[in-house]
Each structure stands twice: as structure tokens, then as C-alpha cells.
Symmetry: C3
Amino acid sequence: MLEIAFYIAVTAEAMTAALAAGRRKMDWFGVCLLACVTALGGGTIRDIFLAHYPLFWVKNPYVLLLVCGAALLTIAIARVVHRLHWPFLLLDALGLVVFTIVGCNIGLEMGVHPIIVLVAGMVTGIFGGVLRDVLCNDVPLVFRAELYASVSIVTGALYYFGLMAGLHADLVVPGAIAIGFLLRVLAIVNKWEMPKFVYDRDLR
Amino acid sequence: MLEIAFYIAVTAEAMTAALAAGRRKMDWFGVCLLACVTALGGGTIRDIFLAHYPLFWVKNPYVLLLVCGAALLTIAIARVVHRLHWPFLLLDALGLVVFTIVGCNIGLEMGVHPIIVLVAGMVTGIFGGVLRDVLCNDVPLVFRAELYASVSIVTGALYYFGLMAGLHADLVVPGAIAIGFLLRVLAIVNKWEMPKFVYDRDLR
Amino acid sequence: MLEIAFYIAVTAEAMTAALAAGRRKMDWFGVCLLACVTALGGGTIRDIFLAHYPLFWVKNPYVLLLVCGAALLTIAIARVVHRLHWPFLLLDALGLVVFTIVGCNIGLEMGVHPIIVLVAGMVTGIFGGVLRDVLCNDVPLVFRAELYASVSIVTGALYYFGLMAGLHADLVVPGAIAIGFLLRVLAIVNKWEMPKFVYDRDLR
């Protein structure tokens, strides 16, 4: 079930990245490349950080075809996509929490420190979007957006401490996904934000 | 012969990167650093993706000296470089196809899936330029330029399927280089481009 | 002693990164993330380049807490920070030389080529700042700033050749730190700069 959710999340991330590419007037190849970086970049960085080789998409290269297919499909249906605003946001929120749990899971399998388990989840959840924004020449959204990274940390912590408390994975996985997903949706609806740090003197 | 072509390609990439650095008014050190990132970045990312350690420039550090030497030479001869417009474009095109074949080759040696062989070639061929553009604070050219990445994929595919068809490497390597090179030059001359995806609604 | 200097340097880098984040109006999470990237990014890239696993912060995750703590402290005391202009510049200079020596040290332990020892030091010293500037959507300062990277190379060379000359580490470490630190401070005071390469013709 987590695997199916993972492929849905990868597809959703690829499609939102394709729209970002379209706003930059990229060519079809650029659309596919940006989709790959966004949908697979977080997991790639996590695997490199943890020396978890082979990378997940080297092991299973068909995920690259899935991402490029989703990106090209987005080009084809772009005219109706704007009517899908809410479904997209929901899929993106689902992607965030699912990626987080997949990342935490790999950290757990490798037996790293609990802090690193949460970091592995967060890197998987948010770094794809960071890479997308860097390649699109923006300051990454995650530095300023509604509770995006915080949702990732909360989801990871629920998952980790749920498992540590002896609960069964069949209960903890859907529970953490549901709570994280709900938190993200509430944050979007209510425009919840972390407090900002504003400093306008020049140090250097 | 591939090795000689590789060093020519590294030198050419270092020189074009140095000119990009000059347009940003970087200091001499910045010129060398940008040249290293551009000329060696694609191969470095490929090695990291495939866990192909030690990195090629850690194994053979003199390539760093070659790159820095080429970058400093470019500063010295900058006044005549604009007369060398075409030779530069040709060397850059040669670099693209040679890097691609070197990358595919390493994928083949490691026995990865054919899709990953092509990805290894493409990463080697184009990611140096992507890193250069990110550090220069541009949206990477490869997302919008003439058939740049496509040339890399075609070259890699010719090389891979040529070898799979049982042809000898002495035939396949120069053949793939020649066809890829010609395709790139024709794309520049005729301004061939991939179709662009333009999407101007704001999703978020 | 080098270890204490390392933690001071990490803290200083985290605090300067937090101020950079404040100038971009990032939220508290963004401040912590940018602090982590800046303070730990150089060492992370070095570890990945040398396949020196586990990464230093995976091995010792408490350094992540130190960095986030320093970043949040900076938010709390931001109003008095501008009076600490000089202490900050001095700590930043100390960070540069200490990071460089730590990086060279790891290169030496792994028995790599002398050129790579110096590269390992330089990557550790300056790439955190490069990543910070890329995420803040600036052209990295190091490409244009006063003798920043040069100080790193000189410090690394002093350390390496001092050890090779048979001097004791207890002498070479403080010596290289002192000279590198002094060189950096003199460069700031006197606005010493590397010559710049200015090229304003368009190649492509």
C-alpha cells in the first residue's frame, strides 16, 4: 500500500514540476528533466547522504519512465489542468507525507540515529522541491511557505515514535499519513505560517 | 583515442566556462572554480549517482591542473577569443558527444540497466553546464537550448545499440561521435529546437 | 583543541547564515535549514567526494542540534547582533581556516594525492558558503570576494607542507590557523582582492 502511495506521489510531483517548467517556457526535454529532479531529487539526496546504494532509481529505472510519462501527459492536458487546482494540491500534500515516511523507513532499515531518521524523512519529502526552485532560479519556497517542512517533521516523528511505542506498522503508516495530510491541508486552507525572521541590516 | 578526445573536451569546456565567468566579472580564482565545476561536474555527479568511487578527478588529480591551466590561458588570450567563435562552438559540440560516450562507457562497465547507461551518458554530457548556469544564477540553458540534451541521448543510444548489435567499439565510437557531432552542428546552424511547453496560469 | 575550534566555527557559520536568512525574510524553519546547509554543507560535499562514509553529521547528529540552536539564538539576539560586526567577521575567518584544516586532515587520513588533500580542505572551507548563496539566489560571493578561497589554499598548503617537513602537528595546526587567520583579516582590512577577469562579448 505504501508502494502504491509512493508511485502516486511520484506522479503528482512530476506533474506539478511540469507545470512549473511550463511557466518558465522550457522545452519538452527540460520539462522531463525538471520533473525527474523534483520527483526523484529528494530520495536521491537521501540515498547519497546515507550511502544507500544503488540509488532507488538506478535499482528500478522504470520510475524514470513513469516520471517522464507523467510530465509529457501534463503537457498534453495542460488546458484542463487549471480546473484541477485542488486535486493537485491534495496530491502534492499526499506526496509530502508519503515521501517522508518512505525516507524515515530507509533510515530505520539502516539503523541510524533517530535524529537522522527524521532528517532522512525530511530530505526525501522536501529536497526535490528545493532542487526544482534552485533550477528555476527562485529562492526555494520551502524557506517561506506554509507549514511544509514542519508537516514533514511531524509526520516523521509520529511514524518513528509510533513504531518505537510498539504499535504495528499497519496502524502507524496510515495514521501518520492521515494526520500529516490533514495538517498540511489545514495549513493551506487557513494560511498557517511559521513566524518569519526579518533582519535588514547588512552584516558584510 | 577516446582519452585524447576526452582531454580536448575537458579543455574546451573549461575555456567556455572561463568566458562565462568573465562575463560575470569573477576573479581569477572564481574563473578556475567555475571551469572545474563545468568541465568536471557532469562526470562527478555521474560517479556519485553510480557510486563509482574514487571520483575520476580524485583518481587522476592532474585533470584539475589541466582545467585550471586552460581557464587561466583563456584569461590571457581573451582578446582574441571572440575571433574563435566557431572553433569554440565546434569544440563544445565535440565535448558534449565525447562526454556522453565516456559516461555510457562507465555505465556499461558497471553493468547497469540500459536506461541507466543512457542516463549516465546524459548526466556526464550536460550536468556540468547545468551546474555552471546555477552558479552563475541563470535558469540552465539546457532547459531551453537547441537540441543539446537530445543530441546526448541520440549519441548514447547509437553507442549502446551499436555495441549491442555486435559492432566493434573501434567502429561504434567514431561513428556515434561523428553522427552526434553533426546533429549538434546542424541544430546550431538551423536553430533547430525542441517544442516548448508554455503554461502561464499560476497553480499555487 | 582542533575539535573545540571546529565547534566554534560551526556555530559562527550557523549564525552568519541565520542573518543571511533574515535578510531574505525566511521563516524559522528556513533559518535552521540554511544554517545547516552553510555550516555543514562544505564538509558534506567533501565526505561525498571522498566516499568518506558515514557523513560526519550522520555519525554525530548532535552537531545538527548545535547548528539549529545557534540559528534560533541568532533570531533571539538579532537586535544586538549588528553591534557584533567585528567579532562575527573574526569568527567567520576562524571558521574558514579551521574548516580547511579539518578537511585536509581527512584527506590525509584517507591517503589521497596531495592535490586532493588541498581540494578537500578548500571544499570544506568554502562550499558551505557557495551552497548558501545558491539557495539565496545570489552569484556565490566566493567567486568575487576578497582573498577567501586563496586563504583556504594557503592555509591548507602550510598545514600539508608543515606536516610533510616533519614538524609536529601541535606546532603546524596552530601555526597554519594563525597565519591563515591573519591573512584573511588583513585582506578584509585592506580590501585585498584577486584580479578580476572581465569579458563582455557574448560567445553564444
